[in-house]
């Protein structure tokens, strides 16, 4: 079956009244549960899968599509409104999204997130349908050396944007790196800095750090700030969503976010932190208003949200063409596919084209449903910000505790959350940026592990990083990102 033939077959079987209802149900449930903090997409899909037992394969896939995209999208809502990202893909969204909500522009932030998710999801699903097999073979070229180089590239993107607060930013970064040392060393199985506490063996979950620094830290800061006249309730500037300017600033960010998110999602490395933050940094660098970033720039929401959804679709490329699940959510989907006799792998597109194309068509349908469902809700969600502050922040703390507890069902984690919250307060008071710490925690272990893995495989030969072309190219762009602006500045002065 060719691509277009396949797609039209897929749509023909997906577009029935019954199946559209299943799509709506899947999207609704996926979004509703994905919204709850601490319940990430993997758990959402796992909790909802039993709902699809007993459906015929086509209807079940339609529901999967809705649940999958719904769960991925749901995380952005709490991120924007309550500064409480429930999963890693929504962290970047919180930075400017929550600032927008505080300024009463929550509806615009939610709208750009919803439309951006739709645009990115649709384009990325199209790319999936057209290029999946070719992309998968490129992704396999990525070994430990390339992942290490990618981590360095992300580090230099962070460093390049620290700007004026260089010392504070580096302190924050090293704080994150230090927290990343905690836990079992993946290469030797030895515990490091876990102080004999078994719950620390798997390291500190990035969600705990983020909710602690962002949500709890912000709550403490708001409570402790000397009373000023701005303490009143938020005034909503718009219930209807985005202004003309918002649209014109968003659409490029959506496209760039898609272009960054999809290829990085295809890599079997897992995780949506790198694509979302690279998109955030790209937007900040390219924006005509870089000073607005961190204070409610709409591109800072549009780009990362698009990148998150595009990488979500990208994850399906290795899953369908190689049978490689690159995230926990993908592993659950893999098991679900197997239940319907669908064995993802190199033969899938030729053995069961009917099911594959139905699945791809359902992803398109799920995306449309997501938009249809969420746009009308934007105005309602945005009113959360009108709650009196004591109730709003009391609710934030309860939701933060709940979300962290559900991660590992450990009260120790909840205790850790408040310790991190106190740290977040301290950092806010001293103007230390929070984001470098989060990236340090995510990227540090990745860089270290991949570096040592590369060295172990090459039996101690350091030259692998420069002799492998992709790795060398990534390292060169990392260097360029750091030194480039300096050289450019000098060149301009000389002219």
């Amino acid at each position: 079956m060719g691509t277009f033939e396949g797609l039209s077959y897929g749509f023909a079987s997906a577009l029935t009244v019954n199946n559209l209802l299943w799509a709506l149900l899947g999207t609704t449930l996926g979004t509703a549960i994905g919204v709850l903090p601490g319940i990430g997409p993997a758990l959402t899909v796992a909790v909802l899968l039993p709902v699809t037992f007993g459906l015929d394969p086509v209807s079940a896939f339609i529901m999967f599509g809705g649940i999958y995209y719904g769960a991925m999208y749901g995380g952005s809502t709490t991120s924007i409104l309550l500064n409480t990202p429930g999963e890693t893909g929504a962290i970047a969204t919180a930075i400017d999204g929550h600032q927008m909500a505080l300024q009463g522009r929550g509806a615009a932030a939610l709208t750009t997130a919803a439309v951006g998710s739709f645009v990115a999801g649709t384009l990325a699903t199209l790319a999936l349908a057209l290029f999946a097999p070719a992309l998968a073979s490129v992704a396999l070229e990525f070994g430990p050396a390339e992942y290490f180089a990618l981590a360095l590239l992300a580090f230099s993107a962070v460093a390049a944007l620290l700007g004026a607060s260089l010392v504070r930013g580096l302190f924050s970064l090293f704080l994150g790196l230090a927290l990343g040392l905690v836990g079992i060393d993946q290469l030797t199985g030895q515990a490091r800095f876990s102080f004999g506490i078994p719950q620390l063996l798997d390291g500190i979950d990035v969600v705990i750090l983020v909710i602690g620094l962002f949500a709890v830290g912000e709550t403490l800061h708001q409570a402790a700030r000397p009373r000023r006249d701005e303490g009143g309730p938020v005034r909503l500037t718009s219930f209807m969503g985005m202004s003309r300017e918002d649209w014109s600033r968003s659409w490029k960010a959506w496209l760039r976010g898609t272009a960054i998110g999809f290829p990085l999602g295809v890599l079997p490395m897992g995780g949506s932190v790198i694509p979302t933050f690279l998109s955030y940094f790209a937007e900040k660098r390219l924006s005509a208003h870089p000073e607005e970033f961190g204070h409610g720039a709409i591109e800072g929401v549009a780009g990362p949200e698009a990148a998150n959804n595009a990488s979500t679709a990208g994850v399906l490329v290795p899953l369908l063409t190689l049978g490689v699940p690159s995230s926990a959510t993908a592993a659950i989907l893999l098991a679900a596919f197997q239940q319907y006799g669908l064995q993802p792998g190199p033969l899938l597109f030729s053995t069961r084209p009917d099911l594959v194309w139905t699945l791809i068509a359902s992803l398109f349908v799920g995306n449309v449903m997501l938009l249809v469902l969420n746009l009308p809700l934007v105005g309602i969600w945005a009113r959360v910000m009108l709650l009196p502050r004591p109730l709003l922040f009391g609710g934030v703390l309860v939701l933060a505790s709940l979300g962290v507890y559900t991660l590992n069902r450990s009260l120790l984690d909840v205790g850790l959350l408040y310790v991190v919250g106190a740290l977040g307060l301290g950092m806010r008071v001293l103007d230390v940026p929070l984001v470098p710490a989060v990236l340090g925690l995510v990227l540090g272990p990745m860089a270290e592990q991949q570096f040592r893995r590369a060295i172990a495989i090459s039996d101690g030969d350091l030259s692998v990083f420069v002799t492998r072309p992709i790795s060398a190219a990534l390292l060169a762009s990392a260097a360029l990102l750091l030194v480039g602006p300096m050289l450019l500045g000098r060149w301009r002065r000389q002219r």
Binding site: A46, F171, A178, L220, A328, G345, G394, T406
Partner: protein, 461 residues
């Protein structure tokens, strides 16, 4: 749609759990015994919690969810529920199971060979012997595989290169201390190479390991045979050997033993009950599992997931598990993967770099802050009273959640936090606090089946 999928199922009688396990179990057991002597009728359980000591998506989680599905479809258990308690190769789940679930007759823990690896590697104080063995359920053979373009055409090619220069062969598989590394160690020992010299590259997820093998990043992949199946069918991977005793139907590869490597190995999964349950409760759980493995639904699932039927109930399973534990201990010690608490810690260059950097920039940042603050006008000190209120709320919340339950602890946190912002409406704040606490408890515990501590209110919930 299933007639009572967990999402919609509101547990009718949760507080009745204690009741059901003591009062109801006698007649139920009698019924079960009758049923066993009779014929078609099956033992019925109202509720059964299946704990997967891993995050959603892995082998243990799949086992738990497949059990859930079979038990529910066949009506053996009315409301089977899956809970995930991830961490440290299952040892965190095991420790919690042995502690917090002591004496609960309605809960089972999924476990297996990899948990033994975790117990040895992380020197866990709790072992499988601390729980009550119910049965071994499934097994999976392991395979060695290389990409189609690999220079290693056969097991002999690979082993020749391995003997020549062991470190030049990188073995890619799952986490350190898990079944894949154990097999690599067994093979090394069997061909006369010191297991310590196995260049094993552990990956945290099955997908990551598989793509490393497919992309030729490692010399050879060690993993469950089923993980490689789709690629082998598609001709992108070649299986060099399987770890079974005999050749497997439909797999075009020799066994290790057939090629002179005296190793036979499979990755088994099992289920345990908590300690402190009565003999009746144990018999009832065993009967439930026994009924499950006899259903055609269970056999269908085994075929779909390519799991082997390795059902071995009760004491025989306990004897098997302790023999396996001894074997794993020896292999992991030889591999140098197990924790050696007495050993002097080796120099860790990365950790040293990070901690030095943290100290340096900490001092530098302190200097910068001090210099800035000197010139600036005092920017208003922090208000300490609200911070103390929230701090107290958080501390009470964490300390009391287990004993008083989530509802009380969360309401307390909400109320104190709200008072930190505005102390004028204690009554209104309390009302909202209770609503939020009860509402979120109901949502998570009943609608989503993600249990929260019930505490003192347990009897009413």
């Amino acid at each position: 749609m299933g007639r009572d999928t967990p999402l919609y199922n509101v547990r009718a009688n949760r507080g009745g759990r204690i009741l059901s396990s003591h009062v109801l179990c006698v007649p139920l057991l009698a019924l079960a015994t009758l049923a066993a002597s009779g014929a078609a009728a099956q033992p019925q359980l109202d509720e059964l919690r299946l704990i997967a000591p891993a995050a959603p998506g892995g082998g243990w989680d799949q086992t738990a969810r497949v059990m859930q599905q079979v038990l529910q479809r066949t009506g053996i258990v009315t409301t089977p529920v899956v809970e995930n308690v991830p961490g440290a190769a299952g040892t965190i789940g095991l420790a919690r199971f042995v502690g917090a679930e002591r004496g609960n007759g309605d809960v089972l823990l999924v476990s297996g060979l990899i948990m033994l690896g975790g117990i040895v590697t992380y020197d866990s104080p709790v072992t499988l012997a601390d729980a009550v063995p119910i049965a071994r359920l499934t097994g999976e053979y392991e395979a060695l595989a290389v990409p189609a373009a690999s220079p290693f055409r056969s097991l002999e090619d690979l082993l020749a290169a391995f003997r020549e220069h062991p470190e030049s062969i990188s073995w890619g598989g799952g986490s350190v201390g898990g079944s894949d590394q154990i097999l690599a160690g067994l093979i090394a020992a069997a061909v006369g190479v010191e297991p310590r010299r196995v260049n094993y590259i552990g990956y945290s997820g099955g997908g990551e390991a598989l793509s490393a093998v497919l992309g030729g990043q490692v010399s050879v992949g060690v993993n469950g045979l089923a993980e490689f199946a789709a690629q082998v069918d598609g001709g992108t991977l070649r299986v060099l050997a399987v770890s079974s005793a005999e050749r497997l139907p439909g797999v075009d590869a020799p066994t290790l033993r057939e090629r002179g490597v005296d190793v036979e190995f499979e990755n088994w999964r099992s289920i345990l009950a908590p300690p402190g349950i009565t003999a009746d409760e144990r018999a009832r759980l065993a009967a439930t599992v026994d009924a499950m493995v006899r259903t055609s639904e269970w056999r269908d699932m085994l075929a779909r997931y390519r799991w082997l039927d390795r059902y071995l109930p009760g004491d025989e399973f306990a004897a098997f598990a302790s023999a396996e534990e001894r074997r794993v201990r020896v292999v992991l010690r030889d591999l140098g993967a197990s924790a050696a608490p007495g050993e002097a810690s080796t120099f860790d260059p990365y950790a040293t770099f990070v901690l030095t950097g943290l100290a340096l920039f900490g001092v530098a940042a302190a200097v910068v802050v001090r210099r800035e603050r000197k010139g600036a006008v005092a920017s208003g000190a922090l208000a300490w009273r609200p911070l103390a209120l929230i701090g107290a709320g958080a501390a009470l919340h964490v300390l009391l959640a287990d004993s008083l339950g989530f509802i009380v602890a969360a309401a307390l946190l909400f109320w104190l936090a709200a008072r930190a912002f505005d102390a004028r409406h204690p009554g209104r704040d309390l009302a909202y606090a209770l609503c939020v606490a009860v509402g979120s408890y109901a949502l998570f515990d009943y609608a989503l089946e993600l249990p929260l501590p019930a505490g003192v209110l347990g009897a009413w919930l």
